[in-house]
């Protein structure tokens, strides 16, 4: 079997004295779409934010594409990575946030161009061309000049996906990408994500969209109280949950 894209071993994280992750073990294969579900406060978003080191883990190890995240192992000691090295790791990991976090003072095109221009050092022409292509890919070719405030929630989230794709990530993290959207706008965002999965992108998707998880997900993880309770094929977990906590949760959301 090939090297996993993401490997988590006994990942723990506390906020102050409150443990949020109590030892997460997970593997995500290249090209896999893993959906993470669970009640709020179960640690799903925190785990996602640990993968690109927006949160620093307290114990355990986390690798993306074979690279230890946030630390360097020298002998039996871990050394924290410098800001510059952490930034370099994050370049290869795209993230899409629940509340979009587009840069409001930039147009859709400028949002997508920013990282290629400033981080990768692309020429303005190359960055513009790529940004236009990406916005076309998410169905917003006619919105390049609009500011985020002039776009609907669904359009903003599609710009955010294009912005993350602009750095050619090998892994995409989605943190409840449709939770802040009006119901009629959810579909357009899920369509883009479905296309992305079809193109072979490795994705971890924290979501409440069970239909999406069932249809697009290769695997489904149910988290509760900082632990992975159950993991399996989405259809299997959704129709035949083995653990009673999974059953209790699914009976409320399905």
């Amino acid at each position: 079997m090939s090297e996993p894209m993401v490997r988590a071993e006994a990942v723990c994280k506390s906020f102050g004295h409150v443990p949020v992750l109590k030892g997460i073990d997970l593997e995500v294969r290249p090209g896999e779409v893993m959906c993470v579900v669970g009640p709020s406060g179960s640690g799903k978003s925190t785990f996602l934010r640990c993968v690109n080191h927006l949160e620093k883990i307290d114990a355990g190890r986390l690798w993306v594409d074979g690279q230890l995240i946030g630390y360097r192992q020298r002998g039996d000691r871990l050394h924290e990575l410098r800001d510059r090295e952490v930034a370099a790791q994050r370049r290869d990991i795209g993230m899409v946030f629940q509340r979009f976090h587009l840069f409001p003072h930039m147009t859709a095109l400028e949002n997508v161009m920013e990282a290629p221009l400033r981080v990768r050092g692309d020429s303005r022409a190359a960055a513009t061309e790529q940004a236009r292509a990406l916005l076309d890919r998410v169905g917003l070719a006619d919105r390049t000049g609009n500011y985020p405030a002039q776009l609907s929630g669904g359009q903003q989230q599609r710009v955010a996906i294009a912005r993350a794709l602009a750095m050619h990530p090998k892994l995409m993290l989605f943190d409840e990408p449709t939770s802040a959207l009006d119901p009629e706008l959810v579909g357009e965002v899920l369509d883009v994500m479905r296309d992305l999965a079809g193109d072979g992108m490795t994705m971890i998707v924290v979501t409440h969209e069970m239909g999406f998880a069932r249809e697009v997900g290769d695997s489904l993880v149910f988290m509760d109280d900082g632990l992975v309770v159950e993991r399996g094929a989405p259809k299997e977990v959704l129709t035949n949950p083995r653990h009673e906590r999974t059953q209790a949760f699914l009976s409320k959301v399905l």
Partner: protein, 285 residues
Amino acid sequence: MAERPDHREQRHPIKAVPVRHPGRWVAGVAVAVLAAMLVNSLLTNPAFNWPEQAKYLFSPPVLDGVRNTIWLTVAAMAGGVGFGIVLALMRLSANPLLRGASWLYVWFFRGTPLFTQLLIWGNIGALFPTLGLGIPFGPQFVQGQTNALYSAAAAAALGLIFNEAAYMAEIVRGGIQSVDHGQQEAAAALGMSRAQTLRRIVLPQAMRVIVPPTGNEAISMLKNTSLVAAVPYLELTFTAQTIYATTYQIIPMLVMVCLWYLFLSSLMMVGQFYLERHYAKGHRR
């Protein structure tokens, strides 16, 4: 059940009797009378001595004073904004020594009067008779007399800059803190460095919050430059004082100075309008 009245006629435009507001009329008349008295005084009171004002309005000493007021305002704001950003970043730093130093600085310069500070800057030679470059607590390589190295203009500008920086530090800090933390996370997730995030993402958005109070600071600064008479340094107001010290035309000179300040502050308000519009980018639909 009562029969519903026929509302079809209500589609015609309403022609109702408006409510009368006698209070507005009374207040309006009072203001009009006061304005008439003011204009009458401006035109007929000989103490305004308009010809005297006209004689000095564009005279070389007054124009020199205007020039000094302008450069002091520009220098004090430029220096104050630059230093204020540094102080704000220190205040938001993870390093407790930097945070403490910034707090102490703001505490001192906001807690003492600008006039008093300017008096101290004017007499700094008494505190530090010599200035030198060398190793702290060690030997000095170059050294000179403070009063020889240091002019009244420098004292005036430094005094205003150091005071303004304390106020700007608070304004910039408020602006930076007004930017949603998610913006920094989004930039970090794209692999942007802290410096890039600050310059490209956080500061441009903070500007929307920083610019309006900074415009007010700049307009205040224009007028506060008159306090550098404490140094002493010859700017617009101090120039007027030196003129009326010999002509005894006190009111005409002071009114003339007011006209200059009004003209300059009006120009600044126009600039402020365009600056605010620029940084509102993305917030207009």
